[in-house]
Each structure stands twice: as structure tokens, then as C-alpha cells.
Amino acid sequence: MRRLKVVAVTHNTAPIPVRGTQERKGLFRLLEEKAKLVRRETVRLSRIAGAGHYTGTFSCAELFSALYHSQLRFRPDEPGWKERDRFVLSKGHAAIGLYPVLADLGFFPAELLDNYTRLHSPLGDHPDMRKVPGIDFSSGSLGHGLSVSLGMALAARVTGKEYFAYCLLGDGELAEGQVWSAAMAAGHFKASNLVAIVDRNQLSIDGSTETVMGVEPLTDKFAAFRWDVRRIDGHDYDQILDTFSDIKHRSDERPFCVIADTVKGRGVQRMELEKDWHVGNLMGADYDEVMAEIDAGLQPARSLA
């Protein structure tokens, strides 16, 4: 019997459309829908598990959406494609928002989401690369991801490949010393194909980062570690897309750091900058209200007093 040769499709090969064009507006609409998917599914899966990391996932919904629908090169039909861009979710507790993105792209059947965290489900609170196609590295223990991503970036140098390694870090995570060992090494090795994105959502578990353990001034910190740094609004697609476009056209030899200023819990007003929603479980009418709020799209965000 003859076998059909399946040609795997590579995503996000086209250049990011420039501001003001119809293509850009079309991409906006797509990204908005995909960010709603992230938030909706986070709420749904949290109910399946009985608890979920809502707020730290909502803060990076726009980043997930833009990364997977405009920036990262990958092949859902060939998750192990060696030339793919790597993505390491160093803040592994946001996996609940990443799984729906991967399922939506066809990395694995969406039905697996319905058994999220159940016995023998491949999908746990923190992602396992051995069980979930599309996860480039297992995470969960904060502070490791930037080192792992640096290893992937340096490996491209050894093997002569041209991919980028992206790492999404939390801001509370920056208190881990290993992050700065990795940052120092990345600057030292001039890992220009390494991109760190800090989800600067202002809160760690016990409260404001600047109360629990101050991380600012972040731009100066990464610059001092020999990084090229840009600070943007992490919920603003124009700023995200312009930055992503620049990443592909940079000639700088330094690693690139995006400080994405975000709002923890963004998109669900009762959760915005509320530390008590780091982990929670919506029930009954609250569940329906939150789903409706997400469907309505982003409203102006709350800010820390």
C-alpha cells in the first residue's frame, strides 16, 4: 500500500504585517480571539481540576497568543522538527493557558483538555515535555527556564542551526539566583538568538513584588548583564508585534530581553491585581459571569494603588 507523504506545515513564516495595514487589523482580530480562548479555557480547566492558576495565566494571554500565532516557527505535525524555535515556559504554572493554544494548533487532540489533571492525564499543572507534544522543556521549578533556554540557544551555535530560543519568565521568579547566573552567562556568550520575556504582572503569591522582594529597576538590571532590553505594554498587540518583528531583524549580538508590563489577572476585573486569585476555583454564577466578561473582551485595567 502506498503511503501518502505528509508535508508538515511550518507556522509563522510570513513577516509580521506593519501597523495600519488591513493585514495587521486581521491579525489583531485573530490574536484577540486566541487570547479569549486562553482565558476561557483556563477558567474551564480550572473547574475540571478543582483549582487553577488564573491570574498568572491571564497576564500572559496576549503574549501566548502573539507568540504562537505570529512569531514562533513550529510544525504541529512534526513537534520534534529540529529547526523549530524553542519556547520554554519558565513560569510553568501558566501551562493551563498554554495547553489550549497547543491543542488549538493541532499538537494534540483537544479532547485531552477535558481530562486535565485527572489520573494519567498528560496535562498537569506544570508541563511535562515527555507527555505533551509541543512542550519543548518540562518546567515548574522556578528559576531554571532561562538556563535551559540558554542551553538551547548555545546548541544552535554548535549545530549550525538558526532557530531562536524564547523563554517566558515570571517577575516573582526573578528572585531566584539561577536566573541571574543564566542572564550573566547569556550576556557573556553573546547569545543573540535567546529572547527572554518577563511577564511583569506586578504580583507574586504573597503580594506586590516590590513588597515581597523588589525586582526593579528591571531594564537597568538586564542591561547591566549585557542584554538588549525593551520595555513594552504586554497587553498591547501593537507593541508586542513591533517588538517581535524587530527580534527577527536585529543585528545586535546581545541576547534580547522584553520586559512586558502586564496586569496579573488581566481580563477578569475581580481578579486584576488581586493576590488571592493566584490559585482559585470559580463556581456557579461566578463562573458564568467571568465567562461572559471574557467574551466581551478587554476593558480598561485596574492598577495598583
Partner: protein, 359 residues
């Protein structure tokens, strides 16, 4: 985290501390040598640190091999690899945890990283990175954990690794293996390239006396090597203690005692079949390790014996659950009876003991 390469007041590097066997020609020669070069420690001062050289040879035919160190390229002789394959060598600086996780990222792309630093830092400082970034995702990273046990002598407990086997063998999916000499280290490195998963390789301080004249054939993880045959007592040893056990066996023969010596190079998975053979054939077993008696080789053997269920005379010999005294390695081996004379004495003590089944 790592110490200076010279010790105040001695002008000798840790690699120059006198040999395991007091009065041995090797140790005396090494002490007399001027052992420093512009590139650090001279290879001749640490002749069994062959990993850099062996990996440089293997890398000629294996493009997957990369080597990382944490500011100890000379002390562990990975510099021999760096000199021949500079594009595949990464000095991560004094950041051992970063090194382990960087290697994990490299391994995820298909490379075969070897990371090298003091055992104390790989096993204890990086324990969580080893568990979470290597063993849990099954990354084929090989750890070259040199200067294990108390080989760093008077550097003190901060630089000793007498708990590393205990920590490492508790991690699922991690192979834990000890090199007794240069030839066995070469065999371990070759086997590690055929192995699909992480390996912790426990090494001494680079001047271990020869156990194997040639690289042991058919070397396999989890398959112990019987290096001497005997009938009265089985000495099950690992790493640096295989050679003292062989010497002890030679001395015991003169007193009419014949000892089987087993090189239990792999601590996890331990060779249960070989342990059960010692139970069935001999019934008197002494384990010997340069490690705390809690959690290491002796504990692994005890677990097998206990579950096997046949009564035996059994003792663990090692460091007796203390942070060891300060002193040069040779003095420490003598003090803790981890030299040939000490092992022979412990063997005779055990043989004089009444068997449990004879009570």
C-alpha cells in the same frame, strides 16, 4: 562555591595532596613534581583524569559531544577537550546550577553534554536541577563529579562529597556509577554515550592507582565486575575503595583468608544478582566505600540482602555518619580505616563475629 586552587600555607593544589597509599611511589613522585603550568594543573599530576582526553577522542566521530565546566577546566582536566574542540566547550563560570540546566537545554536538542565540577557541588548544590532538569525529562547529560568523598582532605567538609551517592541514588531515572581508575572511567564514558538518560559519574581526585590494566571489556551499567575470587569473605567496594580492597585481599591471603572482591561500580541500579551470589556463595559480606555509611553502597547492598532473606554476616564500612576530621587525604584514609590495612582489619573483625544463623 568552589575553593581556590591553592591552599594557604602549603603551596600545593588539592591534586598534589599525597597519594591514597602512604609511601606509594606514585604519591612521592607527584609531590616532588612541579605540577603547575601556565594552563593550570599539569596532566601528569592527575593522570587518571582522562575524561577530557577520552571525550576529545570520541568527539572526533561523535558530533553530539559538548563539554561544560564551572571554572574547573584545569582541575578536572576538561581543558584537554577544550584545547582540541574549543567550539564545543563552555566554561560557565562558578555557577554550577546554571551549568546543569544549560546542559539540559543542550541535550533537549540532541547534543550529548558532559558537565564537570566537584562532586560536592554537582550532587548537593545541584541536586534539584539534576532531579528536575535531567532525570525527570530523561536528558542524556553525563555528570563528571570529580574530587568526590574526602579527596579534598583538609579543604574541609564544604568540599567533601560523602553524601552524594545517597542523594543521587534516590533519584529515579538516574544512573549512578563510580570510576575506580582511568581505564574504568574510559569504559564508563563510552557506555554513557550508548545510554539514553542521565549518568552521575563519581570520580576521585585523579591519582587513583590502577585497578584495570586495560579498559574493561563488556562493561555495562548495573553489571558488577568480580576483580578477585575468594571463598571466606566478599568485599563489595566501589570507586576509590576497589584498589584498597584488592590490596587487603592480597594481605589476607597471607593469613589464610581468601576474599572475593567485587567492583560494584554502579550504585543505581545496583547489581542485585551479584550481591545474591555473594550471599549464596560466601555468606560473609563487607561493603567498603569512601562515603557516609548511610545511604550509599552499603545501604544499597543491605536493601538487597534484607529482601533476599538469607541470613548473612554483614557490615558496612565507610565514614561512620560524621563530618570527617581535617587532614591530608592519606591521613584521613588511615584514620577512618579506608586503606588496605584498615579494610583487612575490618574483614577479620567480621569473620570473627558469630553468624546470625549460628546463634
Amino acid at each position: 562555591m568552589t575553593g581556590e586552587t591553592t591552599t594557604p600555607g602549603t603551596n600545593t593544589s588539592p591534586q598534589e595532596i599525597s597519594g591514597v597509599f602512604r609511601g606509594s611511589a606514585d604519591g612521592a613522585t607527584a609531590l616532588r613534581e612541579k605540577s603547575k603550568t601556565e594552563q593550570g594543573i599539569r596532566a601528569s599530576a592527575i593522570p587518571t583524569f582522562v575524561a577530557g582526553e577520552e571525550l576529545a577522542d570520541l568527539a572526533g566521530n561523535d558530533a553530539r559531544i559538548v563539554v561544560l565546566t564551572a571554572d574547573l577546566a584545569s582541575a578536572g582536566r576538561t581543558i584537554d577537550f577544550a584545547n582540541r574542540h574549543p567550539g564545543r566547550f563552555f566554561n560557565i563560570g562558578v555557577a554550577e546550577q546554571n551549568m546543569v540546566s544549560v546542559a539540559a537545554g543542550m541535550a533537549s536538542t540532541g547534543l550529548r553534554p558532559f558537565v564537570s565540577t566537584f562532586a560536592a557541588y554537582l550532587a548537593l548544590l545541584c541536586c534539584e536541577q539534576v532531579r528536575t532538569d535531567l532525570a525527570y525529562p530523561g536528558m542524556p547529560v553525563v555528570m563528571l563529579a570529580h574530587h568526590s568523598g574526602m579527596t579534598l582532605g583538609y579543604y574541609g567538609t564544604s568540599h567533601h562529597a560523602l553524601e552524594d551517592l545517597s542523594a543521587m541514588r534516590g533519584i529515579a531515572g538516574l544512573t549512578v556509577v563510580c570510576a575506580s581508575d582511568a581505564s574504568e572511567l574510559r569504559a564508563i564514558l563510552r557506555a554513557s554515550l550508548r545510554h539514553d538518560g542521565p549518568v552521575y559519574v563519581r570520580m576521585g581526585r585523579g591519582r587513583d592507582p590502577e585497578v584495570y590494566p586495560d579498559v574493561p571489556e563488556n562493561f555495562a551499567f548495573g553489571k558488577a565486575i568480580r576483580v578477585a575470587e575468594g571463598e571466606d569473605i566478599a568485599l563489595i567496594a566501589t570507586g576509590s575503595q576497589v584498589r584498597p580492597c584488592l590490596r587487603a585481599a592480597e594481605d589476607l591471603v597471607k593469613e589464610g583468608i581468601s576474599a572475593r572482591v567485587v567492583d560494584m561500580h554502579t550504585i543505581s541500579p545496583v547489581d542485585a544478582t551479584e550481591i545474591q551470589a555473594a550471599v549464596d556463595d560466601i555468606g560473609t559480606i563487607l561493603t567498603v566505600e569512601e562515603h557516609n555509611i548511610t545511604g550509599g553502597l552499603g545501604a544499597a547492598v543491605a536493601e538487597v540482602i534484607a529482601e533476599y532473606g538469607t541470613p548473612v554476616r554483614f557490615r558496612r564500612h565507610g565514614v561512620p555518619d560524621v563530618h570527617v576530621a581535617l587532614g591530608p587525604p592519606a591521613a584521613l584514609y588511615s584514620h577512618y580505616e579506608l586503606d588496605a590495612a584498615g579494610v583487612a582489619g575490618r574483614a577479620k573483625d567480621l569473620l570473627q563475629q558469630t553468624r546470625g544463623s549460628d546463634r
